[in-house]
Symmetry: C2
Subunit: 708 residues, 2 copies
């Protein structure tokens, strides 16, 4: 190994160069801070980056008093990281310079690429390909830059003016403006940041790359994502699923993309939409989705400073009754529990508190409570076996001021249980800073603390999920060779397709006359149902196309004839291709399983209660296929009507294993048969445990145009 090779071996590569650069060049560093390159250069220097920063500017002798370099090549030492803030026309040559100089990573601030139409997209593609060839990783283009509070780096390579509190939260934002805003008031929010990356157009470095980096970054304990779109949902799922088992990932996902050309007539399609897909993906990935920005930051502060709770019991300690009730309501509304304290705990509390104090939970020490009362009571509350976390609520009084709170909170942390504080009233900057220094998150409203605890509990639940297990469905060879064109499969095709994926289907025959109907029914066995067959009339009940409980061949013949007359009367006789004679299923629980394809996320499997209720209540759970066993189980447990599956009002419970198998099979089918655009199994009738399920009605649409 020669010297140059040694040198290269020591140089940080790729994302290491982004997060641990030893030297930085700002290409386009300007004398004026009005200019973005000037502002970034100023930020890097004034925030004291722990290495040399080279201003590259062919038109200046010095930049903000630092001797300038006409080109990157003029720099004598190594450059690990470059920030590119030159006009769009010069970005490519700057990347060429980076390649020549051996720069491992370039942050391209410059805009005017993929976000501005076809020409910009072409320029961006060219840039990515060239950088890839040169071995230069790119962050951006069209981004705000990065920020790194790691004391050995201290890099302020972006154009925000504020420098946040250092901490263990790393944040990836797809919106530069949002990132700017967050950096701007991270200090007010008490958010301790480690890395911040504005990923812009994601030409190269993506959220996925950052997740993989932060997975092994010891200084990062909590990962925040602001996401508008997923570049590669499948890779995100794979990576985030792994990383979220090590560190909490919280996401705010916003924005809606076009749902694409989805058949308007489909149940699943109408209910799904891309946002449902995003929610499914995040849930499968173990990522907690916050509803609001405020909730995202509130939860991050709790997760980044406090240990994980081992359960949902929260103890409330306060000097104010009303706020304690509000806190208890908010916790309960979020699925947490405010359990009564053990008698032994109450006894300890009664020994130290005034007689008027309430020692149940909330523990209300009443308005005269001093900070010494908080000090005496908090350890007892935390020691209670039913308490997994504590919320300390203080209304400032003459007896107890927020200034005194920090030491009490600091001492109580030896319990190993998470604590949050809420000062409802004025809390000055010094008191606030002391509480932050004690590393206890402080909230202005009890409901905010409740939201943070709820998100932490959700993360704990996700983390405790069983390891993902591969499915074990045996699929028989399927008769799919005939699936061409854009059409609904006929009932016989549907039946054999489902059967080939081990989904039980009710016995049936397609017939085309009253007489045939009677004969078919006799072969199948009574009672039977008779259902219209039509590839154009999708909702058969709407046209009176279903007759149930037909007990004799005569009834079946009559039903066929009357069906024909009804369709005729509606002027749609040409659309009637015949009728399906089907064995009536035994009574069971009617469910719904569906599949559609999202243009961005791929196949989505849907599960809910069958019949019209799926639409009325929107009680549907989605997951992105392929499904793991955990996915399928979470779908089954995720519907609001799940009580129905447990044996509701004396009815038998449902065969969950059989339902799970159908979900897994539909997921597998979706992956293996890209020509299938859409599946609706409604109803799937579930019988008692060990009695299986039966697909009673199903529709399958195939397409030759979209295969994803």
């Amino acid at each position: 190994m020669n010297d140059v090779a040694t040198l290269h071996a020591l140089r940080p590569l790729g994302l290491d160069a982004l997060f641990r650069p030893r030297s930085v060049a700002v290409i386009g560093a300007s004398r004026s801070r009005e200019n973005i390159g000037g502002q970034i250069f100023h930020n890097i220097v004034s925030q004291e980056f722990r290495g040399p920063v080279y201003p590259i500017n062919p038109h200046a002798i010095d930049v903000q008093s630092v001797p300038a370099y006409a080109s990157l090549g003029d720099v004598k030492g190594d450059v690990d990281l470059a920030v590119i803030a030159v006009p769009r026309a010069h970005v490519m040559s700057a990347i060429e310079d980076c390649g020549r100089k051996g720069v491992s990573c370039a942050i391209v601030i410059t805009a005017g690429f993929g976000e501005v139409g076809a020409e910009g997209r072409a320029a961006q593609d060219a840039l990515r390909q060239r950088a890839l060839a040169l071995g230069v990783r790119i962050v951006g283009p069209n981004c705000l830059g990065v920020l790194n509070t790691d004391d050995s780096v201290h890099l302020h390579a972006n154009f925000a003016q504020a420098w946040p509190l250092a901490g263990n939260i790393s944040f990836c934002s797809q919106s530069g403006a949002l990132g700017l805003a967050v950096l701007d008031f991270a200090r007010d929010l008490g958010l301790g940041l480690r890395h911040f990356v504005s990923i812009g157009n994601k030409a190269d470095v993506s959220t996925n790359d950052l997740l993989e980096y932060w997975e092994h970054d010891d200084g990062t304990n909590v990962i925040l994502l602001y996401v508008e779109s997923f570049g590669n949902p499948r890779r995100f799922l794979e990576i985030a699923r792994r990383v979220s088992r090590k560190k909490p990932i919280l996401a705010l996902k916003s924005g809606r993309t076009e749902a694409g050309a989805r058949a308007a007539s489909s149940h699943t399609g109408a209910l799904a939409g891309t946002d449902a897909a995003a929610s499914a993906l995040l849930a499968q990935a173990g990522v907690v989705r916050a509803t609001t920005l405020e909730e995202l930051f509130d939860a991050a502060r709790l997760l980044s400073t406090q240990p994980a709770a081992s359960g949902r019991g929260v103890g409330i300690l306060t000097n104010a009754g009303g706020p304690a009730i509000i806190a208890a309501d908010a916790l309960a509304a979020r699925g947490l529990v405010v359990p009564a304290l053990a008698e032994s705990t109450r006894k300890k509390l009664r020994a130290v508190l005034v007689p008027e104090a309430s020692v149940a939970n909330p523990v209300d020490m009443v308005a005269g409570a001093k900070m010494t009362d908080y000090d005496a009571a908090l350890p007892s509350v935390l020691a209670d076996p039913s308490i997994d976390a504590a919320l300390v609520v203080l209304v400032p009084t003459k007896a107890a001021s927020p200034e005194e709170l920090a030491p009490t909170l600091a001492r109580a942390q030896s319990s190993g249980k998470p604590i949050a504080a809420c000062v409802l009233g004025e809390c000055d900057a010094r008191a606030r800073a002391a509480i932050e220094d004690a590393r206890v998150p402080l909230y202005a409203f009890p409901e905010s603390a409740a939201a943070a605890f709820a998100i932490a509990a959700e993360y704990a639940k996700l983390r405790a999920r069983p390891e993902e297990v591969e499915m074990e469905i045996a699929s028989a060879p399927s008769p799919r060779t005939s699936f061409v064109g854009d059409r609904w499969l006929d009932p016989q095709e549907v039946a054999s397709l489902l059967a080939s994926f081990a989904i039980p289907v009710a016995a049936s025959e397609v017939v085309r006359s009253p007489g045939d109907a009677g004969h078919a029914a006799a072969r199948i066995g009574f009672p039977v149902a008779l259902k219209l067959v039509s590839s154009t009339i999708t909702h058969k009940t709407d046209v009176g196309g279903v007759a149930l409980n037909l007990a004799t061949a005569d009834e079946v013949r009559d039903a066929y004839a009357s069906l024909e007359r009804r369709i005729e009367a509606q002027g749609r006789r040409a659309e009637m291709e015949g009728a399906l004679v089907q064995r009536m299923a035994a009574r069971g629980i009617e469910l719904f399983v569906g599949m559609t394809r999202d243009p961005q996320f791929g196949p989505l499997v849907a599960f809910g209660v069958g019949g019209t209720y799926v639409e009325l209540f929107g009680d549907v759970v989605f997951r992105v296929a392929p499904l793991t066993v955990t996915d399928a189980d979470e779908m089954i447990d995720g519907i609001r009507a799940r009580k129905l599956l447990d044996g509701f009002r004396g009815a038998p419970a449902a065969d969950r294993l059989a339902i799970r198998n159908v979900l897994l099979a539909i997921g597998r089918l979706a992956v293996e048969a890209p020509e299938i655009a859409e599946i609706d199994v409604n109803p799937l009738v579930a019988f008692a445990p060990e009695h299986g399920v039966l697909a009673v009605d199903a529709r399958v649409r195939v397409t030759s145009t979209r295969k994803s």
Copy 2:
């Protein structure tokens, strides 16, 4: 009229003395500010009450440098309002003094009354009665006091230390501590307060009294309530319903009282609970219920400063894409609309903005936008016909800083449409104050602004409700004389009770043998249903107690015999009192109407979809009886499954007028027949419009013990 009478005629009485006192005495004014009486006296004096404040203290020559009076009688001039902060044992004699002196209103700060058990309650009752006899209105006891920023009064008669911004929001808090907290950070929150009243134990002056006062108080534009319990729900309903048509009333209702001895087996009971009753009452009263404290204050700031919107269309104007998407998501999630702007508006915007700007809605002027761009664009957005309100989102940049925002917002207010601002990032105190001075509410997060707009829209909807109309149900004389004891009525009693309130009931007969069953069915007409009659077995389907669609007398006889055998096999033969033979109803939509009595709120009527879904999805709407036509219509429109009533998937729509009549009748029945504890009509089958409804199954429980 003699002089004394003239004088008395000019003196403010009752709540006028509370809110417009010309003179105040502090009974128990202490030299020390450590003492509550001392702190309140200090607050009144230092906040410059616009009249004399008399410190009453028999042990002091002066109080905080003001000459003291040994007793109230020693004061020469009139005293309109007294603040009583003496030990509990001396409160009664202080009230006697007030009576003698002609004081019209006393604020009793002292605690130790109704909140501390039976003895305290007795003392409080005695106090109330004596004060009533003396003509002295009482606020409290056990309260924090009042605060009044009216410039002609300027009364700081409470022990909070902060003095809030003056404004047009009046606030009544049932929790002193919460009130304290709110006063403490009202200034941070930007809440402009007019009156604040801590009502403590509500021995005399109640929320209802305050609502009636604020109804006619020109300085009060928005009323906030923090409510833990309702003293007189019926009076609250009557008053708030009237007042909320004039001014918005926003409430945070917290806490849960014991649901009382409600039969655990009842559907309605299990679903209702006192919180549902409180929600129903607030909705009927036109009061908007906030979910969190933060939402309460955020909405109050919008409603107190901005005009009402005439629709749900919100225009978003911003310099930042991500936050705009977050804002649009949040608005849509809250039921507001972010409509595309008219082409004429877009044209105007394109003429003034840079080409990269997006002029749809959100209007994203991109990061380089200057405040002159906001100034140019905002009036055009507001002028768009589909826009009813505007949300201005600013991420501070070098080009546009929050300091410049206030004049732009001020100018735009000439549109007469409501505006809110969100500065996402650092916004210093001066910029904040300037925006507050422009009377535009400022939010840190776009979601907070969305929540405020949503509450304002909800208020607008409540206010636009038709005037309450009395019901016009004719009720026949009811055969209720036999309703004694605690029991379930038998089917015949149920049928005649419902029929006497004009509720259509399916024809039926109770029978006690297979043979009788066959004969009864022949009289009624086929097909019939056969249903178990038992006063102890309440859920008949759970024991297999229902047979449907019996088409011949033989089938009916067989069904009776087999029902007997089934009940026998379950060892419950003694509980079978016979069976009901009932004409099968035609197909229709199965609904549920119920009534229970809440110990605090009285009769509650419930409405939802019938069958087991009412429980599975909790899709039930409650209202407190008696119902107005508006109440009934809002119940029908309030269920999530309401699409079912509009003709879902080709099924006929439901006869809404007939459903409304049943709801009104059940409400009237609840009021007229206090011996009826509980009603469950499930299913009530609704047919197509003009085809009415039919009560197919109903249970009615009577009780002799509780008549409310």
